[in-house]
Each structure stands twice: as C-alpha cells, then as structure tokens.
C-alpha cells in the first residue's frame, strides 16, 4: 500500500502543492457526487430529494445522528484493527470473517455464562475479542509456520467464517434459540437479555450505545500506543524495516502474530459491540443470518481511506456510517436505496485518486528534471 511522498519538489512551493492536493480531492469528490446524481436522474429520480434524504437519515432527523454514531462504532473498531496489522507490515483482509466469529463467540459465551448485567456485557465483549483474535490467529499460524501469505488465508477464511456461523445458527446446542423465542424465523440466536445489553443513554433525543465512547477512546489509545509505547514502536519498526527490527530483537513471528491477533480481536470486538449495542441496523440483540452485513469489509475500507491512521479513521468511519444510516431514508424518495452503495463506492475510488495522481506526477516531474539536465 503506497504512501505518496510528502516532500515538495524544487519547482513547487508548499502552498502551490497544497492547492494541487485540494483541487484533486475536490475534483474527485465532486466527480463522484456528480456521477451519482447523473445515475439518479437518468433512472427517473431526482437527486436533490435523494441527497436530502441522505442527510435526513444520517443527521438531520431526530434521533438519527445517534443512530449514525452507533453505526460508526463497529466500523471504527474494525478500522483500528486494520491500522495495527498494516503498521506491522501485514495485509489482513479478513475482518468480515473475524467480526462474524467474534459476534458468534460473544453470543454463545455471553448467553452461556450469564451473570449480572454489567458483568455479562463485559463478558460478551471479551469473548468477541477472543473470537476475532482466534480467527485471525489461525491465519497467523499459517503465515508464520507454513509461509502461507496472510492476504490469501484471511480472505479465504471469510466465507468459512460466515458458513460456520450459519451452521451454528441452525443448532440449538450452539446458537439457535429455543422454539418459543424464535418468532417466525428459522435461524436466530437467543436474544441477549435486557440487562445484558450495552446501555444506550439518551442524549438530546439521540440514543446510542456507550460502545461509541469505547470506540473513540480506543482510537485515541491505538494512536497513542503506536506512537508512544515501546510495543507500538517496535511494531512500526517491523513494518518499516524488518532487517533493523531483527537486529534489535523484534522477532517477526512473535510481533507479527501478535499484530494479526490484535487486528482480529478488534474486528471481533466490533462484532460483539454490534450484537450487544442493538440499534435498528444490527438486528435486535441477536445473531441473524448475514449478521456481519459488510461491516468488516467497510471497516477495512475506512482504514485504507484514512491512510492507516488511527485518529483519521474517526471522521472516515463517521462518513461511511452516515452513508449507511442515510440510505435507510432514501427508499422513501422512490429511488432504490442501493444508490448509497454506489455512492460509497464512487467516493472511495474518488478518494484513492488524488494520492495516486500526485505520486505519478511527482515521479514524472523528477524524471523530467533529471532529463532536462543531461
């Protein structure tokens, strides 16, 4: 994953360069929005009501920004995990699966162990971490014992994870709820008891689980850990110069494995937070088929769009969350709500273009300058 150099070349001033960046970003985002609008218009809709509905659904209407925050939390958590594995030089693209396993562990052990309210919530979250870490850990063992590239193993294990959870949802001794609690659905887990859910305090008419605060705090903590702890420091060394890291005693097997497991743990935590945090987007405190709902994939995108920076992941996660919650309102305008997926996709691509273009331009300029001198 390339990072464009930030140094200005001799021909450019710092100000001129900043302008270039801003123009590229503005242009790309505008193009993305424009294309979306075109798409809406050509299929018989009107883009203004769609944009308005998006804003309504994500922020404007009462209670919505709380919903958005609640959606942001798991996205942010997944992104944080991705940041950690990326800093260690590893490519983890299996968050969707690690999240699902985390949620499954959380549900199973949370329901199994029981206990008083707050303690049970903590147990749920802890087992979410355990589940995700375990799943990523398998890929880690494959990588550090059998040289299997983690990009492949984490990817393949996504489907295995969702199938494993689906299986568990069909077995009463695993996740399947009892007849009485199933309602008219075939495969759901038990609901978490009313006491065993993450509290959702009401703030100015907006309800969202306190896991939001947890995610925000963790974002700061991850940023701090990477920058200012010995562990984070050595992890970054591993990612940036593995030879120097080895010289200094950072074993790629140990630190890399730890990074992968932490990364999976975050994704698992996100799954547990989705389960125990409720909200309309995440079912009703119970696991249903398709529970992970692309949160894993989207969280991965959040991290990449935020250039693998923990704090930058916060606004990025918020934007992606807004698109999700906003899309719920789009249907009422008569336009297919899938348009928000399209918009999200176009926006991500748009955000990828400026760094890529700058990278190419810098190299062309350097080359031209050298050639002019010969």
């Amino acid at each position: 994953m390339t990072e464009a150099a930030a140094a200005p070349t001799d021909q450019q001033t710092k100000g001129g360069r900043l302008t270039e960046w801003l123009m590229l970003y503005a242009g790309s985002v505008a193009a993305a929005l424009f294309l979306t609008a075109v798409l809406v218009e050509t299929t018989g809709g009107e883009w203004r009501p769609v944009m308005s509905a998006l804003l309504d659904g994500s922020l404007r209407r009462p209670g919505r920004w709380g919903e958005t925050l609640g959606t942001m939390a798991p996205l942010l958590l997944v992104a944080l995990g991705t940041v950690i594995s990326s800093k260690a030089g590893l490519i983890n693209i299996g968050q969707e699966g690690q999240l699902a396993i985390g949620a499954a562990f959380a549900a199973y052990f949370g329901l199994l162990i029981g206990g008083p309210g707050p303690i049970n919530v903590v147990i749920v979250l802890i087992f979410g971490v355990v589940g995700g870490a375990f799943w990523a850990g398998i890929a880690g063992i494959l990588r550090f014992r059998r040289s299997v590239p983690e990009v492949l193993s984490t990817l393949l294990m996504v489907t295995i994870a969702s199938q494993a959870v689906a299986y568990a949802l069909g077995k009463p001794w695993l996740l399947l709820a009892s007849e009485a609690n199933r309602g008219n659905r075939n495969q759901v887990s038990e609901q978490l008891g009313a006491d065993n859910r993450i509290p959702r305090p009401d703030i100015f008419g907006n309800e969202f689980p306190i896991s939001v605060y947890m995610a925000l705090i963790l974002a700061v903590a991850v940023a701090f850990a990477l920058k200012s702890t010995t562990w984070g420091f050595r992890l970054r060394m591993l990612g940036q110069n593995p030879t120097a890291a080895r010289r200094v005693g950072v074993s790629q097997g140990r630190y890399g494995m730890a990074a992968l497991m932490v990364s999976g743990g975050f994704a698992g935590l996100a799954g547990a937070a989705m389960l125990a945090g409720g909200g309309f987007a995440f079912g009703n405190y119970q696991i249903v088929p398709g529970f992970s709902g692309n949160v894993g994939w989207t969280g991965l995108l959040v991290a990449l769009v935020a250039s693998n920076r923990a704090v930058a992941a916060i606004p990025a996660a918020f934007v992606f969350a807004s698109l999700r919650t906003g899309s719920g309102f789009v249907a009422s305008t008569g336009v297919e709500s899938k348009i928000t997926d399209v918009m999200q996709g176009l926006l991500v691509l748009a955000l990828l273009i400026p760094p890529a273009v700058m990278f190419i331009r810098d190299r062309r300029r350097a080359r031209a300058a050298t050639m002019a001198r010969t």
């Binding site: 489907t159 691509l349 080359r367």
Partner: protein, 310 residues
C-alpha cells in the same frame, strides 16, 4: 436406500454430471481469467464484480436484442468496464489493489441492484445443442456435449488461455512479471502494462462467465446470482497451485461437491449446506497449509511494482 447405495446411484446418474458441468462452467470462465491475472502477479479481487457486471450487461443486451450472441458481447463489455477501473487504478495509478477490488465489488453490487430495478431486463435460457454421437456417451456425454451452446465456448477458451500464457511472447512476459518483476523490467519488459493486460483478460473471461450465468444457467438477473462465486474462482486458482489444469480441477471438484449435494438431497440425505459452501475455501486453506512448500504462488504475487526512481 442405504447411504452407499445412494452414492452409487448418484454417481451413475447423468444429471449429476450435467449439473457439475454447469456449475464448473461458470467457475471456469472466471477462474481462467483470474489464473492469468495471478500469473502476472496481481490478485484481482474484483472478479466478483466482473461476473456480476457481465451478467447484468448480458441481461440488458439480451433484453434489447433477444440475441444470445449480443448478450455474450455485452457481457464481455460489462466485465471489461470493471477491469478498466481495476487495472488503471492499481497498475497505472498505483492505488492499492485490494481497496480498489473490494470497492468495485460493492459498487457493482449496488449499481446493478439499482439499475435492475430501473430496467428489469428479461432473459431466458438459450437452446441446448446436442453434439451427435458424443452426447450419447454414458454419464458424461450429456454433461460435456449436450449443453446450451455457450458452454462449448469453454472448449475454446481454456486451451486458448493456456496457449496465450505458454506459447506467446505476451504470456512469457506476463509470467516473468509475476515471478520476478525486477528482472523482467531490467530485461526491457513493461511489467505494469502486462499486469493491466492480464486484468483485462480476466475481465473478458469473467464477462463471458456472467453472460453464461444469465443465458445458460439461471435465466434471470438478480444482484445475488453471483454471491461469492468470484471468490470461489480465486480459491480454485490457489487450490490448483496456479496451474491451469489445477484450476480447472478445482472448479470441477468444487462444482462436483455442489452437484452431489443437490442429488443426495433428492434421495433424502442431507449434507450440511454450510459445510458444502465453505468446502472450496476449507480445502484451499488446508491445501495451502499442507503443501506450503510445494505449491508455490508466483513469487511477486500481490506485490505492486514500481520501478526505482532514476
């Protein structure tokens, strides 16, 4: 009947093989292109999107002209459009190939779902062409020679793909780019250009695959018709050790399991559906773990190539 009897019964029924061939056919379209792309050193995660895009554009093409041939062509176009974004962004603009691939999948899913509501293309399954004599071979005859005619394109596509990679200069350069881009570059090969070419090829074959899905297998478009088969195609390439024979073998094995399951259900037994759906991936992961040192990916797989600054 007893389980073993049921198994024997299934193994001796034509329809088992017909279904296997159909399922494998789709996978083979996608996997043959992905094989080429991975030989060049790229992991083309957007295969899923290419298939879906190809399926949609094929459906639209058929809707407008009622011609299967046009559907195939528009299907190819659908795949190529996605290939364009993936190739240019990842191997000309140096954007991360996973981000681009994943985003494209989400984008295509949303876009086709959106447009499907708007357009609602109508399609139907194409006629079966029975090849005389050959299709009378017991068991596999109908499977291999009694299918709707687009299936037979595979008999051209697979050898052609092999020929491209092993008998042409283009293929030599693609293989060099995947194994040692530095050496290839020093020898005067444009590594990123070959990588882009191979992604376009994957778009081409996956576009065909999408069309195949519409006019041969399912007959209707729905955004969910691909549902992970692009990823199974990737698994097939890995399972096959990055050889074409192995890839096709993987497609057959995975498809066979699916077909077997359908059949055994009909006799009253049940193979766990989740186990079956995860089988391709489980088998591939296990294969990689066990044969780690014998199955070798192209050395530069998933490593972007940027020529050193001069």
């Amino acid at each position: 009947m007893g389980f073993l009897e049921a198994v024997w019964d299934i193994l001796t029924t034509d329809s088992t093989y017909v279904n296997t061939a159909l399922f494998a056919g789709l996978l083979a379209f996608a996997a043959s292109g992905e094989w080429v792309a991975e030989r060049a050193g790229t992991i083309n995660i957007s295969v899923e999107g290419m298939l879906l895009s190809g399926a949609f554009t094929a459906a639209v093409g058929y809707d407008i002209t009622n011609s299967a041939i046009v559907a195939l062509i528009t299907g190819v176009l659908g795949g190529l459009i996605i290939a364009f974004v993936q190739a240019e962004m990842s191997h000309r603009l140096a954007a991360d190939q996973f981000v681009v691939g994943l985003t494209l999948n989400i984008l295509v899913f949303g876009l086709t779902g959106f447009l499907d509501r708007a357009i609602e293309p109508r399609t139907e399954i194409v006629t079966v062409w029975n090849i005389p004599l050959l299709s009378d071979i017991p068991l596999i005859g109908e499977a291999l020679f009694g299918q709707p005619w687009p299936f037979y394109l595979l008999y051209l596509l697979l050898p052609f793909s092999w020929w491209l990679v092993f008998r042409t200069r283009w293929g030599l350069e693609v293989r060099a780019s995947g194994e040692n881009p530095g050496a290839a570059d020093v020898s005067g090969i444009d590594v990123n250009r070959r990588r882009r070419d191979s992604i376009y090829y994957a778009g081409f074959t996956s576009g065909l695959g999408g069309a195949f899905l519409i006019i041969v297998q399912i007959g209707r478009f729905d955004p969910g018709i691909v549902s992970g088969r692009g990823f199974i195609a990737i698994a097939a390439v890995i399972f096959g050790g990055w050889t074409l024979r192995g890839t096709v073998g993987g497609c057959l094995v995975f498809a066979g399991a699916l077909s077997f399951r359908l059949a055994i259900q009909g006799v009253g037994y049940e193979i766990n559906s989740q186990f079956l759906q995860s089988l391709p991936f489980l088998v591939t992961v296990l294969g990689m773990a066990i044969f780690a040192h014998r199955v070798r990916p192209p050395a530069a797989l998933a490593t972007p190539f940027v020529r050193g600054l001069k």
